[in-house]
């Protein structure tokens, strides 16, 4: 078997005419030419492998960068922000010396191909981002979107995704404290599997992805490297460098949560002993990304011997090793005197760890294979100087017609019976129904610090046992609203997540997002994307909550049909004492129900318009972020001062949905009176933003009213908590009465019936 000579830097310089398969690797002609220009010669195969993955849309954000800049440019002044956009995840100061890091990412496409493993490795990836910041992961969340609930493929995708998220997260010992499940035909073929994680550390433990200090060692640890996720590199290996047939490469990655659990524990132990100078997880683009980012963020260069990488598959070529996306690996930079101790800790946890290189005092990233130098690049050109596109965008021609198709003009229920039956249809519709069939497959008790989990408005974790300091997180996104108006739709997602956090009594501090859109090459999609980012950045500025990081997922489309633009927004909040948290469930009979905020006739994009009329048109609810902030302040004060016993924000499904949920959770009934200025239909189904329903002990009514009055927040008494257990009802006076058990059946049987 004759083998062509190793494509070293020297070889490349001497063979300028060799054709490389840059197009197969996804590079455009001008991108390839830039690589040649940067290097002053043709790249080696290994260099081409690195540039091509690092300059991909996924790693370089080439289509989105110009828009994402707004998150930095418009960032509000915030004392809380310790680490902003650009690192593995942002870090926020939550007081008492604690810092919290959190981030949301997508694993959409892999989860469609292989739901279980795709979702599982999605959780694995986001958790490694959190560890890489120096934090102990303390919780995960999973915003999910699927095709129509009754579509046969949903029965394949959803149970697999849920089992995968549970299988991985449960095995890692991370409580799952929130998320979303949305069904819409637009996600058929493009389900959205987003996963978020939160980690906690002391301020002094923050770690960054940078390699500094010449002589420091680069240690790769965790799983062995296999041929995962390297379709492109295999082309390179077979066509140019080897006469043998390419060996088979996995089409799908299998996650190993046990390995990741060991990785968490041994990394945290190394942090605790202050052994780590810089650290990076291996995710997309594997070693290409880890080495070039570590090197370019640090002060020096880096030299790596690829032969030292422990392999699962001995047939891998160097290009493949560089591109491999095998899961459960990390890369640490460690001072020489601490290497032995680092390796000892890895050994204690049965984690394979290998020194693969060192930091140099030059400014080049050099990689060797079988004694030859196969990479010699300025790492910044790989990691940071990727192409940037100003993709054309244009408001789609159909946008006006869509907005003109006013949902407020749809036929409304005319009799109490009709109203009642539409309430039942709403609370039993897949999007509004209880998700407990799903969430009961997630551990929410593990780690012993879960204060609130599903189905509360936000998840809440205690982070200090003594003081009761805690953090809360909620994720929201409404593709229907965003389709109607991307700018305001994104703001509504932000507003809802913000409101959900405040409703539980926590003060919103910071934002992470996962922007799920169609193809950036479609100007209409690009317009949605640009508008959504503009809306989100403006909104964050106004609410004082900086975006600390996030993720962009493009090309979520089948043929011409893109998904609804779906920015998912996660808001992180802090609460001084978790004993003050406000839950959703009604707790005591006799407590008064108050509706906070203004209710308008707003049905565009509403759950009612979807469930009853299968309609999407008009304008989404009005956005008033000042009102959101005021509402948030009132909810937080009320919780701190013990004025409210239950609170639930109003969002899709409107007031009746919220009341039914609070009633079912507390096993208590509610009697409602329609306020004079509203008709019953609008009162029950409108989705006006900036609202919540609270339950107030009678003794607090005066004080609470005074507070709202003084600060100018409309507060309307709408009823009372009444009736317990089996004989309880939800009654809308003069309209209808539904028993809790009727409502429970409607609300809780839908999802099991579709999926079990």
């Amino acid at each position: 078997m004759s083998r062509t000579p190793l494509d070293t830097v020297e070889h490349a310089a001497g063979t300028p005419d060799v054709e490389l398969p840059w197009a197969e690797l996804g590079l455009k002609k001008d991108e390839y030419e830039r690589v040649v220009e940067i290097l002053g010669r043709r790249p080696t195969g290994a260099e081409l492998a690195m540039y091509s993955v690092m300059w991909s849309e996924h790693c370089s954000y080439k289509s989105s960068k110009v828009h994402l800049r707004q998150f930095g440019e418009k960032a509000p002044q915030s004392d809380a922000l310790l680490v902003g956009i650009g690192e593995n995840a942002g870090v926020v100061d939550v007081g008492q010396g604690y810092a919290v890091t959190f981030k949301v990412e997508s694993h959409n496409h892999p989860s469609y191909v292989e739901p279980y493993q795709g979702a599982a490795t999605g959780v694995g990836g986001i958790v490694r981002d959190i560890i890489a910041m120096g934090a102990r992961p303390v919780a995960v969340v999973d915003p999910l979107r699927f095709g129509a609930a009754d579509h046969p493929d949903t029965k394949r995708v959803l149970p697999g995704v849920v089992a995968g998220i549970g299988g991985y997260g449960n095995c890692l010992g991370l409580p799952n404290i929130g998320g979303e499940v949305v069904f819409d035909a637009c996600y058929q073929g493009n389900p959205l599997v987003n996963a978020g994680a939160i980690g906690v550390m002391r301020h002094e433990d923050i770690h960054l992805a940078k390699a500094s200090g010449p002589g420091n060692k680069v240690i790769l640890y965790g799983a062995r490297t296999g041929g995962d996720g390297i379709g492109g590199a295999s082309i390179l290996a077979s066509e140019t460098f080897d006469d043998a047939k390419p060996s088979k490469r996995p089409a799908v990655q299998v996650g190993d949560p046990f390995q990741e659990k060991l990785l968490i524990e041994c990394t945290l132990e190394a942090f605790a002993e202050k052994l780590v100078v810089g650290i990076q997880d291996l995710g997309a683009a594997g070693l290409s990304c880890a080495t070039s980012e570590l090197a370019s963020n640090g002060s020096g260069g880096m030299r790596v011997t690829l032969d030292d990488v422990p392999l699962r598959d001995s047939t891998l070529s160097p290009e493949e090793i560089l591109m491999s996306e095998s899961q459960e690996r990390m890369c640490a930079v460690v001072e020489p005197s601490k290497v032995d101790r680092f390796l000892e800790i890895c050994d204690k946890w049965d984690v394979i760890a290998t020194v693969i290189g060192e930091v140099t005092d030059g400014d080049r990233l050099e990689i060797f294979w079988h004694g030859g130098k196969i990479v010699d690049v300025d790492p910044r050109t790989v990691a940071h100087d990727g192409p940037v596109y100003e993709r054309p965008y244009a408001r789609p021609h159909w946008q006006d017609a869509l907005q003109a198709d006013d949902a407020n003009k749809l036929p409304r229920p005319t009799t109490p019976e009709e109203l009642k039956s539409q309430v039942l249809r709403l609370v039993s519709s897949p999007n509004q129904a209880s998700k407990s069939w799903i969430t009961s497959q997630y551990d929410h008790f593990v780690q012993g610090n879960t204060v609130l989990a599903q189905p509360e408005d936000s998840g809440m974790i205690r982070i200090d046992e003594e003081s009761g300091l805690g953090v809360a997180i909620a994720t929201d996104g409404n593709g229907r609203y965003t389709k109607l108006d991307p700018y305001h739709g994104a703001q509504l997602a932000l507003a809802e997540a913000y409101r959900n956090v405040a409703t539980t009594g926590a003060k919103p501090l910071a934002v992470s997002d996962c922007l799920n859109f169609g193809s950036p090459e479609d100007p209409a999609v690009m317009w949605q994307f640009a508008e959504a980012i503009r809306g989100l950045a403006d909104g964050c500025l106004q609410l004082g909550t900086p975006v600390t990081g996030g993720n962009v997922s493009l090309y979520n489309q089948t043929g011409e049909a893109a998904i609804h633009p779906t920015p998912v927004v996660a808001v992180l909040g802090v609460i001084d004492d978790v004993a003050r948290r406000t839950p959703v469930a009604y707790r005591e009979e006799g407590q008064l129900l108050y509706l906070l905020g203004d209710t308008r006739e707003e049905f565009g994009g509403s759950a009612w318009s979807q469930v009853v009329h299968d309609h999407l048109g008009g304008l989404p609810p009005q956005v008033d972020l000042e009102r959101e902030r005021l509402l948030g302040e009132i909810l937080i004060s009320a919780s701190r001062d013990g004025m409210i016993d239950s609170a639930h924000d109003l969002s899709d499904g409107g007031l009746i949905q919220a009341v039914v949920e609070s009633a079912l959770l507390g096993d208590k009934g509610a009697r409602l009176v329609v306020p004079d200025e509203l008709d019953a239909f609008t009162f029950l189904f409108s989705e006006s933003a900036g609202r919540a329903v609270v339950a107030i002990p009678r003794s607090e009514e005066l004080r609470f009213n005074d507070m709202c009055g003084a600060r100018g927040l409309p507060a309307t008494r709408i009823g009372v908590v009444d009736g317990s257990a089996s004989d309880a009802v939800v009654e809308v006076q003069g309209e209808f009465t539904l028993t809790l058990s009727e409502l429970r059946t409607a609300h809780e049987d839908t999802i099991p019936a579709l999926l079990a």
């Binding site: 449960n170 946890w349 008790f445 012993g448 204060v451 978790v578 096993d667 999802i751 099991p752």
Partner: protein, 242 residues
């Protein structure tokens, strides 16, 4: 004087820290034990915590059972040292044959997490003395492999000897299936034979159960109830009075 209670950490243990917290809250001294050490550091009792040791990849508990620490635990348990196995710990105890029977995947094939209603059947063991026989309690349950099975003869023996310590309370409204937010936590959550949730050995010093008492020791977190605390006060009293 207080009692020293060891909590073993296996690779993949998840609730080890929580078990230590529960021990501390009960007033005893928690001692961290490591699976590779034979040495039990002179503890008076041992808790094998929940989690997915070795990923539960072969069978839950099957690999941990062969760890060095288990050699000593098995030996000491046979001479009377109190041992509590929670969830994965229970699975390890059956794999180690310190308790009869075995654990299999839940009959509905899903992971299940909920606040489960249990009946205390035996309040005489080292770990349950602070309960009353017949008492109904709520303890969080979360597992993939929670289905207790044994042959009929073994089951009959367990019943006859009063060695079923906890049973899932069946009844109430369970018509909504396992995914139902059943506020009362009724029902057999995994298909365990005779609704068995926990058992003990002949001497009553070794107890294993699937639900997690360490997640029900503080009113604010976990299930928000404290029904699990008596496990840890029971053992403390027993050891201190011994």
């Amino acid at each position: 004087m207080t009692a020293r209670i060891g909590v073993v950490t296996f690779p993949g243990s998840l609730d080890d820290r929580d078990s230590r917290r529960a021990i501390r809250l009960a007033g005893a001294e928690p001692v961290a034990l490591w699976h590779k050490d034979k040495d039990l550091k002179q503890v008076d009792a041992v808790v094998l915590p929940g989690g997915f040791s070795y990923g539960d990849y072969l069978r839950a508990g099957a690999i941990s059972r062969f760890s060095p620490v288990m050699g000593t635990v098995i030996e000491q348990a046979k001479s009377g040292m109190p041992v509590l196995g929670i969830c994965n710990g229970f699975q390890i105890l059956t794999e180690a044959h310190l308790l009869p029977g075995g654990m299999l995947g839940n009959d509905h094939l899903h992971f299940i997490c909920r606040d489960q209603k249990l009946k205390v059947e035996n309040a005489e063991t080292a770990w349950t003395a602070d309960y009353e026989s017949g008492q109904e309690i709520h303890i969080p349950l979360k597992n993939m492999d929670g289905r207790y099975v044994a042959d009929e003869r073994t089951l009959d023996m367990l019943e006859a000897e009063g060695r079923v310590v906890f049973r899932y309370v069946v009844g109430g409204d369970t018509s909504h299936g396992h995914g139902h937010v059943n506020p009362d936590g009724y029902g057999n959550p995994n298909g365990s034979l005779r609704d068995i949730a926990g058992i003990t050995n002949e001497a009553g010093n070794v107890v294993g159960l699937m639900p997690h008492p360490e997640h029900a020791v503080e009113p604010l977190v976990g299930s928000g109830r404290t029904d699990g605390l008596p496990f840890f006060t029971s053992i403390l009293k027993k050891l201190v009075n011994a």
